[in-house]
């Protein structure tokens, strides 16, 4: 009897533990490097993997670089070349971090919660710490996280003539949305 109760308790605990980690394979990252000279360097990646641990606040993203979709085939091609993101060598962009004020977010109560996220962003084989703000929206059982920030391409060893010519922003904006 005791063994049965213990087993049931362990199964329940495992189930609860499992439920706190949420994942999605359809998070969206928008990359906007447009300038006044060129409105084309802008892309969406709609098949980003994301995870969120509602207890610890750990949050992570994995984005296949070749899945950033530009409207112009030439820009798509350039984006992936060795002189830019070099997606053959560095196929995935990764973020691993934590919502530092996760205790302020009530995941079981509908609302919009402002959060701070700190973590490591790896692009083009270079890892840099970043800190940004975002929102967590809880609504009808779903959790939506959104964040908007800029990066410096030179910090990630991404450079090229188009940046120098003002046709690609030196500090593109990145918008991340994930619905769990």
């Amino acid at each position: 009897m005791k063994k049965t109760i213990l087993s049931l308790a362990l199964v329940l605990a495992a189930g609860l533990l499992f439920a706190q980690k949420k994942t999605t394979t359809s998070a969206i990252i928008n990359f906007d490097a447009t300038t006044s000279l060129d409105k084309l360097p802008k892309a969406d990646n709609k098949t980003v993997i994301a995870s969120l641990d509602t207890k610890t606040g750990k949050i992570a993203f994995e984005a296949t670089v070749k899945s950033f979709t530009f409207s112009n085939p030439k820009i798509q091609e350039h984006f992936n070349t060795a002189g830019w993101m070099d997606s053959e060598k560095f196929p995935t962009a990764i973020f691993a971090g934590t919502i530092t004020n996760v205790k302020d977010v009530k995941f079981n109560k509908d609302g919009v919660y402002n959060v701070t996220v700190k973590g490591d962003l790896t692009i083009h084989g270079v890892t840099k710490p970043i800190e940004t703000t975002g929102t967590v929206t809880v609504s009808g059982g779903s959790i939506k996280t959104t964040s908007n920030f800029s990066i410096k391409l030179e910090d990630y060893a991404v450079s090229g003539g188009a940046i120098g010519a003002g046709k690609v922003s030196k500090e593109p904006t990145i918008t991340v949305t994930a619905e769990f």
Binding site: T25, T47, S71, P73
Partner: protein, 139 residues
């Protein structure tokens, strides 16, 4: 003088052409390969590098069963999942074909054409996955 003018005009035309290039509708593009979804996943699991070399940035028709539909405000992604190990293929549809994806149901046998981006191993999900972009129903 005229030669220089003609060269400048030609150069301008090329730049204009490059600037206004757009992707064709995937529905109208000839496929490089036609595959069965589970065999395709198996190929990536067995040798990721070789499969990426063969399929990355190619137009592929994938025949399989809809395992999951993931919809957000502006997206409708279709997934075909190998239920024995969780490995999956995910298809992001072209804007003009979003409704085709939204009309699919889990369990539907479908044929989807798209540009294969890449296969990779996800540390988050601890499984292989292959992403597609600019997808459309293959007719």
């Amino acid at each position: 003088m005229i030669a220089i003018f003609v060269l400048l005009l030609a150069g301008g035309a090329v730049i204009w052409w490059l600037f206004t290039l757009k992707y064709e509708d995937t529905a109208d593009v000839k496929a490089d390969h036609t595959v069965n979804a589970m065999d395709f996943i198996k190929e990536f699991k067995q040798d990721m590098a070789a499969a990426n070399k063969k399929y990355s940035e190619k137009i592929i028709v994938v025949n399989g069963t809809v395992s999951k539909i993931e919809m957000a405000d502006t997206t409708a992604n279709i997934k075909m999942i190998d239920t024995t190990n969780g490995a999956y293929i995910i298809f992001a549809f072209q804007q003009q074909h979003l409704d085709e994806a939204k009309q699919m149901k889990e369990g539907d046998k479908v044929s989807i054409k798209g540009s294969c981006s890449n296969g990779a191993f996800s540390s988050i999900l601890e499984t292989e996955y292959i992403t597609f972009k600019r997808c459309a129903v293959n007719k």
